[in-house]
């Protein structure tokens, strides 16, 4: 109701609803995919992996919203953390192939044999263990984010300059990962995965379990993000976003607050990337492309910045739109996306969540004060 109000977007009830809806949808779709093929409710493998992809992207959007919506850091390089998480999981999946590769080597992935490498580079050590991969999935993006954030925030780089260096970061990583010598499969990336934890990646049951796992982890991340923004630290982030220098005179170090949420956000993005790879079946340097990061910002803008739920909603709806649109008119998708972004900025500054709040809560002059108050408490 009040233009400055931030209570509704941080609503705990809304987040719990969204988390429950995500888990229910993932569970329902997974169950439907296990029905026999003749059943009218049967969901194809294609639909299941598509849904898994959307939910993974939703985690990236959630990560972007945490830093952009609440700390005011417009990141244009978050897909880098997503891709790094993806590569960490991809390394494990490569090792699971074992001797079933084209060259039949039990310890070296095919692309290394192709490069005539005799042994695994040191950073591939331990990659045959799922537990180690699970650590790397969050640790590698977290570590890169710590170093990058520490340098950037300490030097008080902010605004458009920070956006540009995040873009440079992901671009530099893309160029690096294209190099064969880096040891991540170069141009082709990591693919041809067979198993995860001994289960066939192409089996409907494995795919169903992966979709449910993605839904559960997205819901958990959503609740964890809500815990962060709903805490006193969340108030501090908003304070830093709106009047950074003022927080210094209260004795806070805004660079530390930004670093903490930045690293947390990078970890969520990394987790999303790992889940993405298991379901899409490939990770290559293209995932680092600057356009991917920019697209993730658009998902958040469309859903509603600074609302958490909006990020999830935006990522799912825009990607659904992309799937449908590219099937009908593939060459026009980018124009459509651009138009969507322009329309959102012009007509829906608070995204779909803002529209939803507007529909639920009529303008103040139409309601009596008591009614307005109760609604304010609920929302």
């Amino acid at each position: 109701m009040n233009p400055f109000s931030t209570r509704a977007p941080r609503s705990l009830r809304g987040v719990i609803w969204m988390a429950a809806a995500v888990v229910a949808a993932a569970g329902g779709l997974a169950a439907a995919s296990l029905l026999p093929e003749g059943n009218p409710l049967h969901a194809s493998v294609f639909v299941v992996s598509l849904a898994g992809k959307y939910l993974s992207y939703a985690m990236l959007a959630l990560a972007v919203d945490l830093v952009w919506g609440f700390a005011g850091i417009l990141t244009l390089g978050h897909a880098a953390f997503f891709a790094l998480g993806g590569y960490a999981m991809g390394m494990y999946l490569m090792r699971e192939i074992g001797a079933r590769g084209v060259y039949g080597n039990a310890s070296l992935p095919d692309f290394m044999i192709f490069l005539s490498w005799k042994s695994l580079p040191w950073y591939w050590w331990g990659s045959e263990h799922f537990a180690w991969a699970a650590v790397l999935v969050v640790a590698v993006p977290g570590l890169l984010a710590s170093v990058f954030g520490w340098l950037a925030f300490r030097s008080r780089v902010s605004g458009v300059y920070l956006s540009i260096i995040t873009q440079a970061l992901t671009y530099a990583l893309m160029l690096a990962f294209f190099q064969n010598g880096l040891g991540f499969g170069g141009n082709n990336g990591l693919t041809d995965f067979k198993d995860i934890l001994g289960a066939d990646l192409h089996a409907p049951l494995t795919r169903a379990v992966l979709l449910v796992a993605t839904g559960v982890l997205l819901a958990t991340s959503l609740l964890a993000a809500r815990f962060v923004v709903g805490s006193r630290f969340g108030s501090l982030l908003v304070a830093v976003r709106d009047a950074e220098s003022r927080t210094r005179f209260l004795g806070y170090r805004p660079e530390q607050a930004k670093l903490l949420v930045w690293v947390f956000s990078a970890m969520i993005a990394g987790l999303g990337g790992a889940l993405y790879v298991t379901q899409v079946g490939i990770i290559n340097p293209g995932e680092f492309a600057p356009a991917n990061s920019i697209e993730s910002v658009i998902w958040v803008a469309v859903g509603g910045r600074g609302t958490l739920c909006g990020a999830v909603l935006g990522a799912i709806l825009v990607n659904l739109g992309k799937t449908l649109f590219t099937a009908w008119l593939p060459e026009f998708w980018l124009y459509g996306l651009g138009l969507l972004f322009i329309c959102t900025t012009l007509f829906l500054p608070n995204g779909l969540m803002g529209l939803w709040r507007h529909v639920r809560k009529p303008p103040p002059e139409e309601v009596t004060p008591e009614v307005a108050d109760t609604q304010g408490d609920e929302a």
């Binding site: 009040n2 233009p3 400055f4 109000s5 931030t6 209570r7 962060v228 805490s231 006193r232 630290f233 108030s235 501090l236 908003v238 304070a239 976003r241 709106d242 009047a243 220098s245 003022r246 927080t247 210094r248 005179f249 209260l250 004795g251 806070y252 170090r253 530390q256 607050a257 670093l259 903490l260």
Partner: protein
């Protein structure tokens, strides 16, 4: 004698692009004192505040607070030592409620992890209630600060300053844009605050300075021109020339 002083600035100079904003400035404040700083535009009042709070580093000179050298510390460290600052333009966190603004200001947890895990304690609730009462913002406690009137924002910022429980408050033009009644109420509030804390007030409004009834330091071109009671300072020919002459 130095150790008896709360704030001791000596021979401080700072130059911006060749312009001497502060020129051999010395200023001493006893514990519990309230001091008004007056001076024409460009006299260096705000720069002086910037130096004390760590926003600007002096080229030469020393600044000591309770015997500690402030010139080596940054803004958060100085704030944590017990120096609070109120800006000329009220800067409150508009998207947060009045209560959330006060909660962030309360002396206590500052490290990010501790802030993340902090839960509002009974003691904090009580402190916030007292601040809401002091600043007369009880009725709007849960409303966003962005929707407040100008005067309410000024008071909220004063409440936030009090929440920090500083030894020394630096207050920059607190009554700019206020009505006469609000101005006098603010003077009362500052006198009330001064019963437990030291205060430095920068202000143009002479009626307000008179209402405070404290010693006055006149700044001119980055140095102290005169110091003493308002009557003594007003009678000083050099002060009259700076304000009225030329």
């Amino acid at each position: 004698m130095t150790d008896d002083l709360l704030l001791d600035m000596r021979d401080v100079s700072v130059t911006f692009d060749g312009f001497r904003a502060i020129n051999n400035l010395s200023l001493a404040l006893r514990p519990g004192e309230m001091r008004a700083i007056v001076g024409p535009n460009g006299a260096g009042k705000t720069t002086m505040m910037d130096i004390i709070t760590g926003k600007t580093r002096p080229d030469t000179g020393t600044v000591r607070f309770q015997g500690r050298d402030l010139t080596r510390l940054d803004e958060p460290a100085i704030a944590r030592l017990g120096i609070g600052r109120k800006f000329q333009k009220p800067t409150v966190f508009e998207a947060l409620s009045v209560t959330e603004n006060l909660l962030l200001s309360l002396k206590g947890v500052r490290a990010p992890f501790a802030v993340l895990m902090a839960r509002r304690s009974a003691g904090e609730r009580e402190r916030i209630d007292r601040l809401l009462h002091l600043t007369r913002l009880e009725a709007v406690a849960d409303q966003p600060a962005g929707g407040m009137s100008h005067g309410q924002k000024q008071w909220l910022e004063i409440g936030m300053l009090m929440g920090q429980e500083p030894e020394l408050l630096l207050v920059d033009e607190p009554v700019a844009g206020m009505t006469d009644a609000e101005t006098m109420a603010t003077a009362d509030l500052l006198r009330e605050i001064n019963r437990t804390r030291s205060v430095v007030v920068v202000e143009h409004d002479m009626d307000f300075v008179r209402a405070l009834g404290v010693d006055v330091t006149v700044l001119h071109e980055g140095s102290v021109l005169a110091e003493g009671t308002l009557d003594a300072v007003s009678a000083d020919p050099r002060v009259i020339e700076v304000y009225l002459g030329r």
